[in-house]
Symmetry: C2
């Protein structure tokens, strides 16, 4: 049995036809994908198969696969940035690998050598490097995913799984480079994470029910949910996945609370954003950045 | 836009090759499937397409489909029984349709006319009637499933979905017709349902994290998890899906609590089981049973 796949075993059969690369300024998040994907199959009987980089295509999944019924699934979100020096960087990718391995344990999916997966991802991004936008306000989003594929309706640890990684060029969160502060909807009616749950992992089950609350937030004119927990309405998290984001209003118990983030100019927010993007786009050297090529 | 599909629009192109029907006594739950499935596609733009009954085959799913990332998915579990009079019955199927519609709302998936879906399922079971085991201790398991299929990584209400139904012949829970009492593992470490969550629906996200606890229960020599909630360890539910099941032991705070279910003979358990199976297998008339054909 193979305990982990190895990047040195990669079988690379890349796409021979190529999609047109989009203008990064007009992109809707997560809707355009690159030409190739990474796939690695796992079974309880044989362990991990050799990793493959091959043309991105639909997956052929049995209708009884555990990912489609019992949310035996997890993912990560990372980015590759094209720096001002032309080099491509990942940002603290080892932390994503670490959380992914923890999510795998929690969902009874197989674990793997984190360094080997990171090296497979590096090779995929290297192959797709022309998809990393030539822009310091856009990036190539990386989506590692691990799903249970056993064709069986038994509620149990799956004996088959598929790890795959897809890439999607994404534009800036804030068009024209300016901050647009957002409103948050804070209602204790929905709870996202709780003691004894999976809030410390990045698993599909955390999202399925959250989308409903997100819809309701939009109906109240808010962009995001501020998740509350417990009798005393402790703040747990906001769903935003942007780097830094100023908040102008919180709708709580029917009242709009004004948050004066922007009133005296967004100094703190801007300082955080600049520091992080300086590292990501190679304007500042840091061991938080990992070179792809 | 089509608010609901209609059973009268069914396009039936059944399988022309047939799998061998297994001996129901040796079946592992949810591993054998019948020759055909029901599929109904939905999109925000066009609403529901016409329902199709066609050969069971793998689904072609985009690797970014929301079901695989965000658990935008739900299911139901029902059964068809071959009665002592040769007729095939469903057991209170309207309640499954009702919960399915509620689960769809909660996961931002499209709803439908419950009677139309039930009629589509009835027609599928009618077509596959030879798969309903000739046995009063086995049945044909029905798995309606609804998944988000939009190929986009945005965390939002999906604009594409697929409803499908697969069928699986299943054997008796208790081999040789006798009750085997089970042990439960009760540890407040894992929580399955909570206020503001999705415990009142049947959605994938409820299961992904539960499988881990189920694994741990097995390691402690227990068959199932007795789910606890809150500081005072309220009992919420057991994961068993059998009709009636006697419990002999509960492992709680490191101690085995003996439950004397079987000591004076399982009178109450047997009475419940007989009443329910009398209705399911047509030994007793009841409006809880719905004739398939």
């Amino acid at each position: 049995m193979t305990e982990s796949f190895k990047a040195s075993d990669l079988i690379i059969t890349p796409a021979t036809t190529f999609k047109e690369k989009p203008d990064p300024t007009g992109l809707v998040f997560g809707t355009v994908f690159t030409d190739n994907m990474l796939t690695i199959e796992w079974s309880l009987a044989s362990g991990w198969e050799k990793p493959c980089i091959r043309p991105l295509e639909n997956l052929s999944i049995h209708p009884a696969a555990s990912a489609l019924h019992y949310a035996v699934e997890l993912f990560e979100g990372m980015k590759a940035y094209r720096g001002v020096d032309g080099k491509i960087r990942l940002f603290r990718p080892a932390l994503n690998m670490d959380r992914m391995a923890r999510s795998a344990l929690r969902t009874t999916l197989p674990t793997f050598d984190q360094k080997e997966l990171l090296e497979c991802i590096r090779k995929l991004v290297e192959l797709e490097q022309e998809w990393v936008p030539y822009s310091t306000s856009a990036s190539l989003y990386i989506r590692p995913t691990l799903v249970g594929t056993e064709p069986s309706l038994g509620v149990k640890k799956p004996t088959k799984a598929l790890l795959y990684v897809i890439l999607s060029p994404v534009g800036p969160y804030f068009a024209s480079g300016t901050f647009n502060p957002i409103s948050l909807w804070a209602d204790p009616k929905y709870v996202r994470a709780w003691k004894g749950g999976t809030g410390d992992c990045k698993v599909g089950g955390n999202y399925g029910s959250a989308i409903y609350a997100q819809q309701e937030a939009l109906e109240f004119g808010c962009q995001q949910v501020l998740w509350l927990y417990g009798e005393d309405h402790q703040i747990t998290e906001v769903g935003t996945a942007c780097i830094v984001c100023p908040i102008s209003k919180i709708l709580y118990k029917g009242k709009h609370l004004d948050i004066p983030t922007m009133e005296n100019g967004p100094e703190v927010t801007t300082r955080f954003l600049n520091k992080l993007t300086d590292i990501q786009y190679g304007r500042e050297e840091s061991d938080w950045a990992m070179l792809v090529s």
